[in-house]
Subunit: 417 residues, 2 copies
């Protein structure tokens, strides 16, 4: 068992004063009176992101019109955005592009990986994966004769038990969206490779939360979200990574004109572009992509080791304060105590999690609920302070002490929970 | 041969004065000194669209944060946008959704159609289709044993010759992107059905250009672009249509969580939503989708018959003026003279089309070039006037008379042509 000295007695103002990332907070717009611990679901707007959208809409679109494909660099944005993300996920040049959604990119990488392992028919994943990963894997296996999806947590206890000589692909969520548990990228990738399989990593809850090292871990493919920790805007396009060693054989069936070697020759037959560009499909949503470009500029000077260190301390501080201040209320953390085994969120199980989260939001503390009984809090080092954490736990304590969650106003479920 | 009285001698100011759609122009921002005949490639910004983006970025994202999924209606946008488009393409409720790109939606409808015709292995299309249609069809057939793509213009002269008892799907571009020729939706759909095949219509160059009648024509599936004639913003998400009679059997492999019957139950197994919603995949690009919602509001009071009538007259006026004013220059129109056989563009073949188009753009007339030798001009009834057309032909005449296209400044090819 991992033990650390509790941070519960530390003064938040002193912690903030010593925080080298504190100045980044000014880059973001955060509403008055809100403590935002849901950046793991939708990151906030930065001034740079909003300025970029405004420029794209008012000037590039309205004034530049069709000319902006060239003059404003629209055409190169998917690759330019990929270059900005590459550093954050430990990828050398030419391996990352921004396009489509995580869901669509999962389909591409699963299809590409299956094509690279033609004799093998099994995709192995965790039942606890974010559901779209499983749904897309089901869509892929349904169209390949004899193919199947086997799940840790259903067909066996662990991923390792399921990896065998029929395994084509091991698909892993780097950080579990519900518990915040961080999977071992080096170890699991090595196990997949030892069995002759490929490893696909879903970085939705790790990109921008910690220094991902795709190349160093020898990952084969990866996908990731840009609208969570990367703060690129609601529903911003996703990224996709393919290791350079696979580029010569890349083949995926979403063979759209943006992934063509010569899109403006308007040829009759598809010929894939070289490298990761073959994963592009159709015309990207430029306004959303411009917001993303603006938001990514905020990351260029971020020290990812400092980011991770602060993330570990923010999450520990929260866990220690909850234990210290809310001990009477039966909260059970499902997030690993070992800092090396968690991402940048803390998930608390509570019988009345749904109305309790609604009450917290009404009190100005925004986290989120995940069925059936999890209150989830994300800690994002660029704009969350230790004072925010201390204040958040006081609000949590108040809601629990007063049983505010019993108020019927907090019972009604919204469309998006 | 279709004959009409030439409009070349008509006074543009009088034509504008009698135009019932003239007041719509005020809704759009058009740069000073530009005649924009490229709305068939990228429509201009309207005030409503720009206001919607600004609201989405500054207020919904920056202030509302995660709460805006419910409070700003983000979650319902794909279906709400589909409801707004339905009227414009002749679809009864519940058959249209807005999601992903045309390319991705083509993949879904082709897969769904192939699944509905399990014994059949052939997709029939035209070699002159917009290339991404062909590339995606190639991606689909590559993954289905024995499947093949047969093309009119390559494997036979006409679509009709290729439709036989092995045809699963006939995929047709309603308006040809290069020539502007309008295909017969009633007739071709009936021919596909008579052979036991399904008909998929690509409406990229007809939606917003004329009154499409998907239900009345008994189309099976359709896809379409929103950033051309619908003016929804650069790379705005596309729409997809599936006839209600197919909804009970809809099956497509891009089975993401947004197409799940209960996305926020986070179930392990995919279960498709009812109806067209099963075509949704992942989280949509909200900022781009908001622009689209704003832009679609501009369409709510548009009389589609008036739109078509003006479109026919704008294109005829242009063709008549070109014949009258530019006869010496060897331009060859590849757009049908019969108004019932063309969409809302005119395409002129010219040996020096690329530098000539660059020269026109430099003179303030924006059209576009399509390889190898086509100058393409789009006529969009909501914001183009007859005076614009007359002025455009004068600019064209000047560029041709002075051979301005010989200037070496216009020879260099840009990334996007």
């Amino acid at each position: 068992m991992h033990t650390t000295t509790s941070m519960a007695r530390l003064d938040p103002a002193s912690l903030d004063a010593a925080d080298p990332l504190a100045p980044y907070r000014e880059r973001f717009l955060l509403p008055e009176g809100v403590i935002y611990l849901d950046g793991n679901s939708l990151g906030p707007a930065s001034h740079a992101a909003l300025d970029a959208v405004d420029q794209a809409a008012q000037s590039e679109w309205a004034q530049g019109l069709i000319r902006s494909w060239n003059t404003a660099g629209w055409f190169d944005m998917p690759m330019a955005a990929g270059r900005l993300i590459a550093r954050l996920v430990g990828a050398a040049d030419g391996q990352v592009a921004v396009c489509d959604s995580v869901t669509i990119n999962l389909y591409k990488v699963l299809q590409a990986a299956m094509a690279l392992r033609p004799g093998r028919r099994t995709i192995v994943a965790e039942a606890s994966s974010f559901p779209t990963d499983l749904y897309i894997a089901q869509g892929v296996v349904a169209n390949i004769q004899g193919a199947r999806l086997r799940l840790a947590g259903r067909d066996a206890e662990t991923l390792e038990e399921l990896i065998d000589e029929d395994t084509a692909v091991v698909l892993v969520n780097h950080v579990d969206y519900r518990s915040g548990a961080l999977r071992d990228m080096v170890g699991l990738t090595a196990k997949a490779h030892a069995a002759g399989a490929l490893a696909i990593w879903d970085l939705c809850h790790s990109a921008g939360a910690l220094a991902v090292e795709l190349d160093a871990c020898e990952a084969d493919f990866a996908v990731g979200c840009t609208y969570k920790y990367l703060n690129c805007g609601p529903g911003a396009p996703a990224f996709v990574y393919a290791a350079a060693r696979h580029h010569a054989q890349l083949r995926q069936p979403l063979s759209g004109w943006w992934g063509h070697a010569r899109p403006f020759e308007f040829e009759t037959d598809y010929a894939p572009a070289t490298g990761i560009k073959a994963f592009l499909t159709g015309t990207p949503p430029v306004l959303s992509l411009r917001a993303l470009m603006g938001a990514l500029a905020d990351w260029n000077d971020v020290d990812m080791d400092q980011l991770r260190e602060k993330s570990v301390r923010l999450t520990q501080y929260f866990m220690d304060l909850v234990e210290d201040r809310c001990a009477a209320h039966g909260l059970v953390s499902i997030t690993p105590r070992d800092p090396g085994a968690r991402g940048s969120q803390v998930s608390l199980r509570f019988e009345h999690a749904y109305p309790a989260m609604q009450a917290l939001i009404a009190k100005g503390l925004i986290g989120d609920f995940r069925a059936p009984d999890v209150m989830r809090f994300g800690f994002t080092p660029l704009y969350i302070s230790f004072s925010d954490v201390a204040r958040a736990v006081e609000i949590l304590k108040e809601v629990l002490d007063t049983e505010l969650w019993r108020d019927e106003a907090y019972a009604a479920k919204a469309a998006v929970t």
